[in-house]
């Protein structure tokens, strides 16, 4: 790792201001992704702002029947929360399908949203990667692309977003709450729908979210329970502790209508509300719309039929 200075932040607004003052600073919470990347010198911050002491580790009920999940709630605690298990089961299922017990005990809600891709060319500092070194090219195009995106990518980048949790958050219509640094001591708050939070790569794949410099996530809010049956089906190369080739997060209502988002196929959790109008007609018409415009490689074109079959399995499970 490169040397860095370290501070423990005293409040969210103070943390945001400290980060805005130092462009090469990073917030650190669980650290399970950031430290991995720092050891490989993919991330080289000169200053770390430890946000673990900010008290953002509670899950509270909102006036409209939803849940406000503090940014620092650990993945284990979120998955095990009785209200999440009962009313937002797709979120528990997605979290439990990700990482290992040790990692879930440290990884946080906000950090999970911000984790970086596991594209092998992003991780190999000897290879060209527009996300890691803008303008250097993309080794994944024409390279080893089995894990990578089939939809939403660009000529500059076909990395996938690796999160399971974020796919469930997308299907639950979550909202990201932040504090931005301002001259006022309390900072400025804003809320961002999860659908708008992650960016598609275009020609700037190094910019992955709409967060501004210094902006700190303080919470993720879920609306009132969506009802229906909740499903998270993750298809991967081994039974546990592996990233998704394809994952399906779905909420299916008794009348056959519902919502679906995909993981493992795109640079962000992949959902199209127009595709959901086809839910009661089965997996094939849903996927025709959801994966419209897909540009798979020879190595990952298997993901298209795999996604359709995974959704078909989910819909069969929903019928019971």
């Amino acid at each position: 790792m490169k040397p860095f200075t370290y501070e423990r932040a005293a409040s969210p607004a103070e943390a945001a201001r400290a980060a805005a003052d130092r462009p090469d600073a990073r917030f650190i919470a669980g650290g399970t992704n950031l430290l991995d990347l720092m050891k490989l010198q993919i991330e080289t911050p000169d200053h770390l702002i430890d946000v673990n002491g900010l008290g953002l580790d509670r899950i509270e009920e909102t006036p409209d029947g939803g849940l406000r999940i503090g940014a620092l709630v650990r993945n284990t605690d979120l998955a095990a929360d009785a209200r999440v298990r009962r009313d937002h089961a797709v979120l528990s299922r997605a979290l439990l399908a990700g990482a290992s017990g040790q990692l879930r005990n440290r990884a946080t809600t906000a950090g999970n949203l911000l984790q970086r891709t596991r594209c092998p060319y992003f991780y190999d500092t000897n290879m060209a990667c527009n996300k890691r070194r803008p303008g250097s090219g993309c080794s994944a195009l024409g390279g080893y692309s089995r894990q990578l995106a089939v939809v939403g990518g660009s000529e500059a980048c076909i990395a996938t977003h690796p999160s399971d949790m974020a796919v469930a958050m997308r299907v639950l219509d979550a909202t990201v709450e932040t504090v931005k640094p301002t001259v006022k001591p309390e900072g400025a708050r804003r809320t961002i729908p999860i659908a708008d939070f992650h960016r598609l790569p275009g020609d700037t794949p190094e910019i992955e979210t709409v967060l501004e410099p210094g902006e700190l996530i303080t919470a993720v809010t879920l609306p009132k329970p969506a009802g229906g049956t909740h499903h998270y089906l993750k298809v991967r190369d081994r039974a546990s502790y592996a990233f998704a080739l394809v994952s399906v997060a779905a909420i299916v209502q008794p009348d056959g209508s519902g919502r679906v988002a995909l993981g493992g196929v795109a640079p962000k959790p992949w959902r199209r509300e127009d595709a959901e109008a086809e839910m009661s007609r089965g997996a094939k018409p849903v996927m025709a719309k959801l994966l419209a415009g897909a540009k798979p490689t020879e190595e990952n074109k298997f993901k298209l039929p795999l996604a359709e079959r995974a959704l078909a399995a989910v819909l069969a499970e929903a019928k019971g």
Binding site: M1, P3, F4, T5, Y6, R8, I28, G30, G31, T32, L35, D36, K39, L48, D50, N52, T76, A79, A80, A82, R85, R86, A89, S92, R93, L96, A97, A99, S100, G101, Q102, L103, N105, R106, A239, S240, Y241
Partner: protein, 218 residues
């Protein structure tokens, strides 16, 4: 050429000796009364910033002044000479570095020591001693839950925490009923232990050892 029986005995003797050496190392460190100069050799840099941190390891208060880059794993091994916790991949993929932090198992390689002011940390040295093994340590010996032994301290720390997680009702990926009490079957233990890799492949014996401590069968 050793007979299989001799090899078996040597392996067990070696494991006990490893635990004993680690315990002696910890005593020597205290007797030396030095503020441990922590951080791995690879991190040595005269200009690197340092930060003080105090935490409790295996019931003893420890004060360290560390290169900020020092992981909890390196602070335990290099700073406090608690060599039982192992460095495998150093990237959170293998679980050899698993310790119990404030009652939760974590990968000590993927967290900075300075982030744990006031925390309580339990390593394999804090679970039991060669004379008085923790029930999980005794069960691993009884069921031969290891071959080379390198992943074993992490496996045992993880296993102790897994049983606490099941007791607390925390579900797993294979728990059929999210709202019920998780069962104590092999599928649950295997899923929950998937963050601990054993390249010798002692998995089935590890599951037997954990199952015995859970009171599933004698």
């Amino acid at each position: 050429m050793a007979t299989p029986r001799e090899i078996d005995v040597k392996r067990r003797t070696l494991m006990a000796a490893t635990v004993a050496t680690a315990a002696v190392g910890a005593v020597a460190s205290r007797a030396g009364a030095q503020v441990p100069a922590a951080g791995p050799p690879a991190s040595s840099n005269a200009a690197a910033p340092t930060t003080k941190v105090s935490f409790i390891v295996n019931g003893k208060a420890r004060d360290l002044a560390l290169d900020t880059r020092t992981t909890l794993l390196d602070a335990l091994r290099e700073g406090l000479h608690l060599g039982g916790t192992k460095k495998g991949c150093d990237h959170g993929q293998c679980g050899a570095c698993t310790v119990i932090l404030d009652g939760r198992r974590i990968n000590s390689c993927l967290t900075l020591a300075v982030m744990h002011e006031g925390s309580k940390i339990t390593t394999i040295e804090g679970l039991g001693t060669p004379d008085k093994l923790h029930p999980m340590q005794a069960a691993f010996v009884k069921h031969d839950g290891y071959q080379c032994g390198y992943c074993t301290p992490g496996q045992i720390c993880s296993a102790v925490a897994v049983l606490a997680e099941i007791e607390a009702g925390i579900p797993s990926h294979v728990t059929a009923d999210l709202n019920g009490k998780p069962p104590l079957d092999d599928a649950e233990l295997r899923e929950r232990m998937s963050g601990n890799i054993c390249r010798c492949g002692a998995y089935s014996n590890i599951v037997e050892a954990i199952g015995e401590v859970a009171g599933r069968k004698a």
